[in-house]
Each structure stands twice: as C-alpha cells, then as structure tokens.
Point group: none
Chain length 195, copies 4
DNA sequence: CATGAATGAGTCTTCATTCAT
DNA sequence: CATGAATGAAGACTCATTCAT
C-alpha cells in the first residue's frame, strides 16, 4: 500500500518537535530534522515555507487543540469557576502527556516567538483570554482573594506551571504526573501557608 | 590606554545585556554589541573569549551577587524561615530593579545555557540550594502545608517569579514593583483562595 | 545535481593545487580556490571539511599513487637494487610531469604539514620505507659505498630531488626533463656508487 | 647598569628565530615573539617595520655573514677549486652550529620569501654566485665530470644540504655534525668528480 | 511530489599594527 | 624609547534555501 498522503507533513512536525526539544530552535539544523523524519531536506520545503514556519506550525498544533477544549469548558454552565479553572489546568497538562518534548519546545521557544516579529497563533491569545475570563468569573463571585491582582496571578500561575512542566518533561519518572497536578492545585488554591 | 578611562569590560557587559534582551542571544550580533558599547569589535575580544563567554559572564554577574546576599540571609539567626523566604525573594527582585534588561536575559537565555554544554556559574547552584534550605527549615517548623511537595513548590515559585519578572521588565509602568512584590507574597503564602 | 556533470570534487582539488602553488597555502584564500574551480565557496565545503582538509587530500592524491607504484617496483624480483632505485626515482619524477604545480605544493607545503599536528598520509611513510628498503638491498649486495651513511644519503637525495623539482616546475623550458633525470642519475650513482 | 642599547633589537631577532622555527612564520604571532624576547609588542615595532621585516632581517643576518666569508674563500689564490668548494660548504654548515633554529627557519621560510614579492637580501644572490664561480673554476680545470650540468648540480647540492640541515637541526644528537659533513663531502666529490 | 547538490549571504573571530600615555 | 589596550580589515566557515533532475 502506498504511504498515506499527509503523513509526511506530520512526520516532519513531530521530528522537528523532537529536534527542537533536544537542541533548541537555533541550534537545530534543518538537515537534522530531515534525518529524524527520514525525509529529504527538499521535502521539508514542500510542506513548510521555512524553518521558522515549522516552529509556527508547532505552536498552532499546540494551541489550536487547547483552545478548542477551553471553549467547551467555559461554555459549560453547570460548573463553578473553581471547577472550570481546575479543568482548564487539567487540559493544559494533558496536552503534553503523550508528547513531553512538546512541553520543552513550548517552554524554550515560545518566548523567542513572542520577542520576534512573528505572532503566535490566534488560538494562543484566545486561549489566554478564556483563562482570564474564568478567573474574572471567580472574582465576581468572591471566590478569590480580592487583594490579589488578576494579571499578576495569571502570569504567576502560567510561569509556575511552565517551569514545572519543563521539570516534569525532563524527569517524568521522578515526578508522577498526578502528584504534580495535585500540588499545583494546592498551591493555587491555598498557597503554601499552613492554615 | 589609548582612549576612555571608563571600564570597558563593564561597558561591554552592559551593552550585551541590552542587546541580548532586545534580540535574544542567537539573533544578537557581536557587531551590535560593539556599537551599543561604543567600542570596536576587536575590543570585545580583548575582554571576552567569545560571544558565548559574554553570556557566561552575564550570568556570573547576575548570580554571584545574589548568592552573596543569600548567604547573609540564611545565616541570620534572628529571623524566622518565613521572614527569610521573604527576604530571599526580595533580594531576587531587587537585583533587577536597576537593570530590567537583565531580567529578560535571565528569563530567555538561562534555559539555553542549561541545555547546552555550558554550566551555569557555581553561585547559581549554591543560590538555589540556599533557597531550598530556607524552605526546608520552614517545613521542619511546620510553617508550611505538609501536603505540598517541596520540589514542586520550588519549581513552581521560581517559574512564577520568572514569568512575572519578564512581564514587569517589559511593562514597568503598568505594574508597579511594590504591587508586584506584595502579590507574590500573598500568592505564596495563601494561594488565591479566599479563606 | 543542479549543474555541471563533471567531477566537482576533483575540480576543486586541481584548482587548489594551482592556487596553493602560486600563492602558498597560507596566502591562498578559499574564495580564490572557488573562483579557480568555477564553483561557489559553499561547494568547497560540501566536498572538503576545511581548507586544511584540501591540503591533506592533495597529499593523499600525491602519495597514494606513488606508493602503489613503488610497491610493484620493489616486488619485482628480476631487477637489481640499482635498477629498482632508478625506477623508483623515475616514477617519482613522472608523478609531476602532467602537473608541475603539484611539485611546487609538495616542495612548499609538505614541511608545514610535518611541523603541524597533521600527519601526512600513511602512503607517504610507506613510500619512504620502500625507498629505504631498496637502498638497504643495494648495501647488502655491496653495490654502494659502505662509507656512506644510508640515512644521510636518503635525506640528501630527497632534498636534492625536491629542490630540482621545484626549479624544473618553475622553469620547464629552461631545463628539459630528460636532462634533469639523466643528471640526477649521474650524481646519485657516482655519489653513492662503490667504484 | 643600564641595559646595553641594541640588545633589544638582537633579542627580538633571536626570539623570532626561535618562534618561527617552532611554529612556522604564518602560525607565529607577534605577541609570541614579544613574550619570547621579554619585550612589549610595541617595542618590536620600534625596531622592525613589520612582522615580515623581521623575517627579512633574519635572512640578512644569515646571508650577510656567509657572503662575507665566501668572498674571502674565493679570493684565496692558494687553494684549488675543490678545496674552495669544501671550505664553502664548511662555512655554510658552520653558520648553523650555534643556532640550529636558524636552519629550520632557512629551510621552511626561504621559499615563501622567494615566492612572494619580497626579495631576499642581496648577499644571498651574491653568495650563490660565488658558489657557481667556484664550480665553474673546477669545470674549467676539468676537475668535474663534464657530463654533469652545473645548474642541475647546484640545485641538487643545495637541496640536499638544505634537507640534511633540517634533519640535523631537529636531531642533533642522532647525527653528529662531523659525520654529516663527511658524508656530504663524499657524495658531492664522487658524484661530481671526474674519475 | 521528491531529492540533495549547489549556493552565497552573513558571522564570528583573529591578529598585525597603531598611538596615547 | 617603551608600553599594551584598542582597532578593524580580512577570511574561514555555516546553513537555510533553491531548483534541475
């Protein structure tokens, strides 16, 4: 049977994730990706406009699906803001379970994207917006400490999770996913204090 | 000396921090640094072995001082672990007040360093160790929630602060430093929950 | 392939021989070689690891073939040591007839190779060994003056030939090859001969 | 006591000979020479126009003295051409006895000089001329084999000696100078002699 | 579509030389 | 004269991208 069309494009994407995760975007060579994907260098340029385009597509790949799920979470009227926030964070973590390298790429390269002239995919910004909405809902319902600045909180949470994610991606055995998730919940809800 | 009485080595370091902050290490050109420092390209190589060496020195510059201060904090027997942690975090933030670009470089490039073959300066690892010790002290004295995994907590805090730092560095006016600091304290101690 | 059907690797080698012969290794620029070979600079690095690698390959090109021929000469049981030495020297000279620039490169750059960290090709050392063996055979058969130190003789001969070779390569018309060869024979035979 | 004037110029020259001998002209750095001479880099440029100028002066230093002696040899009417040639070669070898590194520089760098735009010192060309005159005298007096082409002979001898010189400079113990000299005499006399 | 040899613009780095002190 | 920090021109090498096959 002839190899299914479309596989090659995906193969390249996954190979790139692996290579970028290992060496970082700038230190990764297109030829390495072609080797990892078992594809010729030329083929990469059939499916992607440039090396940078691959990175862009990786982020679309990451955020499009997350945004899709987040939309469903916020629309669910049966859940409280606190439950929603929990689900929101759950989906985020789950995105990486089957692809830890994606976490590394996210952590290492997203900032580079944000700095450069390249916009991140729209879905990323929409995803963040949903996150803020969930927290705002909680604020309105007095579920959260009113002293806490929402923006600061959001950045703190994202940064904290991002960093943990990286640690987990590199040390999957040392830190079981469930423990990770539980602790994040604890810290967010109650901080570290022994109330 | 042929020109300038200033500290050329320091000028170059500061110029590099600015340029790296703006474009990222890999997109920064040595010639840009030389222009920013108002120094010839050749002069850079009088004081630094290579472009990478400059980055190394930036991290020494960052962590050596922090480690020095952290040592004093932990040695102070008159303070409780909670006070120590607060001071510890204070000094960290203060490191960047007079040099916000250093925060950007720290946030963007430290991971690249950790990935590559280059070790970070020893002071960095020692600094982290002190941080862990302070938390451990607090744990022993039952000041912290025993359910929280220290390692997870450490990574979470560092990541959260790191991310906030970056936001602050890019939007100093939007987010007053004092507000930033106060919120971090709140979140760490009490989480977001409205107890 | 995108252009040319010729052997680009060989073209580059020959171009490099010409350029090195004219300017010397250190004064030769890779860009000059690329021009001489009518090839882009990048192409040179497709076939050779570095400028130095080209020089290495030139010496392999020179000595591999010579060694091959020398092996046949020494194995020939029908010839006397004196005949063998003559043939040995003949093949050496002939190596350069169609490529006088190679003689210049040999004369000028081989010493630099010997001084540096780069080994010459194995074939070179083996070739020399065969030369010594031939002379040793002659010694055993009392064909040569026992007063002459073989090592000194070998160095003398090699140096003498090397120098003549250079003169000839630069002044091919002024000194016919046959005359050159005949004279070398005379000097060697009578210089070393056991009269 | 104040250091004698003029020492510095000579110190630099001797240091340069050592450094050039060890690394070759192109791989030698001016700063290495300054270190070897225990002199500042700037001082070198007080006494020499450029790095190349140092090499030029080395060759003057080598050939001027040799030429001086050669002039006396050829003028001596009491000696036969054969005796003169012997003396001529003696002085050449002796030039290097107290400074083997000079031999290495001569062997390795003189060709580079001959290739480039730089002329060798006049004394060099005059020295060669005297050598040819001595041989011509011998030819006229039928002392040498008329079949031998003088030019070829000259180049052969010079090349042979040059090569031996290098070997000796690098292995002074393995090859006693007297043995070296005796063998050269044997080869030359019998090689060129009219038996 | 697939290939991979060919390309050359773009950078880091070196080091001989200068010149203010 | 002596110094050595400062200079910048020059060159080796890389690698994303192209395109003839």
């Amino acid at each position: 049977m002839r190899k299914k069309e479309g596989n090659k494009e995906r193969d390249i994407l996954e190979a790139a994730i692996k290579v970028f995760a290992k060496y970082g975007y700038h230190e990764s060579k297109v030829s390495q990706i072609s080797k990892e994907a078992e594809v010729s260098v030329g083929s990469i340029y059939v499916y992607y406009k440039s090396k940078e385009d691959i990175l862009n597509k990786i982020f679309s790949f990451l955020w499009d699906k997350l945004y899709e799920k987040a939309e469903k979470i916020i629309a669910d009227e049966t859940k409280s803001p606190i439950e929603k926030l929990n689900l929101f964070i759950d989906t985020f973590f789950e995105r990486f379970v089957s692809m830890p390298e994606l976490a590394i790429v996210y952590v290492n390269e997203q900032r580079h994207m944000e700095m450069g002239k390249n916009l991140l995919p729209l879905s990323y910004y929409k995803y963040l917006e949903i996150g803020e909405q969930i927290i705002s809902e909680g604020m309105k319902k007095k579920l959260y400490n009113p002293e806490v600045n929402v923006k600061v909180f959001r950045f703190f949470i994202i940064g904290g999770i991002r960093n943990l994610l990286e640690f987990w991606a590199k040390n999957q055995i040392a830190l079981p996913f469930t423990e990770l998730r539980k602790n994040v919940g604890l810290i967010i809800e109650r901080g570290i204090g022994n109330h």
